[in-house]
Amino acid sequence: MDSQTAFMRNIRQSLGLAPDTERPKRLFPALFAKADTALILQDIENRTTEQQNELVEILQANALALGVNISIAGSHDEAAAIVVDLVRTKNPEFTHTKHIVHHDHPDLATLQLWKRFSREGITVHTSFSADQQLREKTIASFIGITAADIGVADSATFIQLTQPGRPRSTSLVPSIHIAFLKKEHLVADLREAYALLREKERLDSFVFITGPSKTADIEAQMVHGAHGPREVHLIVLSPPPIEKDVRETQNLQHTEEQQPNS
């Protein structure tokens, strides 16, 4: 603490204040005044399916522009099929064997990936906190699968909070990152995302991920796959299919069905 005392003394002196008089934070309530996020949270809460689908469309456009492969899955089965296909068709970068690792997350558990490759030489790991060999398994894996806590449509970002069973390395060390995002976790912009983050009980380590790892350090030429995943696949779990015409007919049916009731 000594280094701190001298340091703070020096700052107060530089500010023209009495160097030895500490300034307690409670005397400056405006400094850490919390922005009023009630309205923002309300907006997120009250978003209609229609609006959510609109956000998905915005996310889709922005993700494509960043080189993120985005697909919309109507069910967990559909999502699993996409993953299975990727695991089968993609090739490992650093090893010769196919290992994949996924977060210990209920949405990923429902995909039942462990039993989908029973007759192939593909090993599926789950990132359990207690697993002493997790680091090695993650390094050996060529695909990492995570479930995002928050998605941001405006910048095609997904936010991952580090939690038990959900390490940082799953979305980082494997060459290919597959991220799941539930439609209801999608928000419009960073302002909304920060409002949600503030509400989190435990805000420890977290990361914003926006597209695949990239560099332009050699003659400003963009290359994907500098140190992180060179490919990112985003699967949005959106229970009712959102292709436009289907949705419209659905909405129509919906209103027709509702009319007699109302």
Binding site: N10, I139, R191, D204, S205, T210, D217, A220
Partner: protein
């Protein structure tokens, strides 16, 4: 440290101008990122945002003791260790002690300007520790034994052929000048290093006091690797690199990624504020945050320069500066180059020592226009020149060129007195005759004035001044008699 960089402003600038390769890269860079950032500012819907962020930054500085204390408290609550370092030596000693305590053999670095500022690498290396830069550009610079020449694009002065040769020599791969192949070679080499290093060393783009986090932006993912895989992490941050609240963080972050690379967000923004929690499956076991003064409190104390601390190191001012755009980054002889370097390098490292920097900039104002936090760099460059012209006890600055001061006090008398001025002109016209060459230009002046004609010709004094011409040709025909009278009076 570097064999290829002349340390002198003039020689390095001359070398930069003479390099077609550098000129091409700088032109490309400015054309894309300089123009791009200006366009973002012009079309941004929230035109108040830049001002707001600046105001918040300045308000943070006015309460810096409180805000840093809050940051330290929140990091410590999470089990992180916070050290306040008054000087570079202090920060180095602390970091070295951490490394030694853990018997570290290899340190991987995520791009950190602060680590360059305090020049920690040689000390770690002397202690037998391998230090590896992980940002691709920085890695290339390190392999080449060179110095960075841009805040965001450190190896902009090297082309693909040079990098190909370098990799052939240092990484033992077959020669190629294909950027993707070169990148993959570095990816493999560095992955190995990052997975085996015992300690990570990073900077900090923006810390958030309210939540007790540091945050780091990167596109490559090297910072995530550096902050995730090694068991010990040390983050070095300049004491001004902090915001009070999450809300302020968001706005500053958005300005940073847009100004630096025209991105809504960089690929990764990592937030961390302590070691991995008990039940976290990965992350560093030990987390150290080193908050560094190293001359910043002196800047804080001077209202004339405090504003420069608001800088978020986006590098945008380099992407528009006409001087940087020609001479490149090496001439600035500092990790901080371009207009921001022209102000902050002298303030941190000696105004006299870096006298050329503020004199070299043109004060055109472009850096102020592009700066996301509207830093008035031209004003501060002029203020530095003032210190050099008159000396300053506060900044321990001596008058840079007494001869120049004499010339200007003489000049002040001359232009204050029309008759004297005209006499000077006549004398000048007479004296310049032997120097005017066939192309009607003055090629070379004598002695003290010789510097003016070293790199350029000077037009000679005209045979008649504008005032004389006017009087002769038009004064009589001016319709307004009153103004005509004034002319006579002149």
């Amino acid at each position: 440290m570097s064999a290829t960089t002349p340390s002198n402003y003039r020689t390095a600038a001359t070398a930069g101008i003479a390099s077609p390769r550098l000129q091409k890269s700088l032109h490309g860079l400015q054309n894309r990122f300089g123009k791009g950032a200006m366009e973002i500012w012009a079309t941004m819907t929230d035109q108040e945002m830049r001002r707001r962020v600046k105001d918040a930054r300045m308000n943070t500085f006015a309460h810096l003791d409180i805000i840093l204390a809050e940051l330290a408290k929140n990091v410590r609550t999470r089990g992180g260790q916070v050290h306040f370092a008054a000087t570079a030596q202090d920060a180095i000693a602390y970091t070295l002690a951490v490394a030694k305590r853990h018997k570290v053999n290899r340190v991987v670095k995520g791009k950190s300007m602060t680590s360059m500022e305090i020049n920690i690498d040689p000390v770690l290396e002397d202690a037998g520790i391998e230090v590896v830069e992980t940002d691709l550009g920085e890695y290339i610079i390190q392999l080449a034994g060179d110095k960075p020449s841009h805040i965001i694009a450190p190896c902009i002065h090297l082309d693909r052929n040079q990098i190909g040769e370098l990799f052939e020599e240092k990484l033992g791969i077959d020669y190629t000048n294909d950027p993707p192949t070169l990148t993959m070679a570095a990816r493999r080499a560095l992955r190995e290093k990052m997975l085996t290093a015992e300690m990570g060393l990073t900077g900090c783009n923006l810390a958030c006091a309210e939540t007790g986090h540091i945050s780091l932006v990167s596109n490559e993912g090297n910072i995530r690797m550096t902050t995730t895989m090694p068991p010990v992490l040390v983050a070095l941050m300049g004491m001004e690199r902090v915001v009070a609240t999450l809300d302020e963080h968001r706005e500053a972050l958005q300005l940073l990624t847009q100004a630096a690379a025209l991105q809504k967000l960089s690929t990764y923004v990592s937030f961390l504020g302590g070691p991995a929690a008990e039940d976290d499956p990965d992350g560093p076991k030990e987390f150290h945050l080193v908050i560094i003064d190293n001359g910043r409190s002196k800047i804080l104390a001077d209202p004339e320069f405090r504003e420069v601390l608001a800088c978020i190191r986006c590098g945008a001012c380099l992407n528009i500066c006409p001087v940087y755009g020609k001479i490149g980054g090496h001439a600035y002889n500092s990790p901080y180059c371009g207009p921001i370097g022209g102000v902050v390098t002298p303030l941190l490292d000696g105004i006299n020592k870096h006298a050329d920097l503020c004199k070299g900039e043109t004060l055109c104002g472009a850096c102020k226009d592009i700066c996301p936090v509207e830093n008035d760099l031209p004003r501060m460059l002029a203020a530095l020149r003032h210190k050099l012209a008159y000396g300053s006890d506060l900044w321990n600055t001596s008058q840079h060129s007494p001869a120049e001061a004499y010339v200007y006090s003489f000049w002040k008398i001359v232009i204050g007195n029309p008759r004297f001025f005209r006499l000077m002109l006549r004398t000048g016209r007479f004296l310049q005759r032997p120097f005017v060459r066939k192309n009607k230009m003055v090629r070379k002046m004598l002695g003290f004035a010789g510097g003016w004609t070293k790199g350029r010709d000077l037009p000679p004094l005209a045979r008649q001044t504008f005032a004389e011409l006017w009087k002769e040709k038009y004064a009589a025909t001016r319709p307004n008699p009153i103004e005509g009278q004034n002319e006579e009076g002149n």
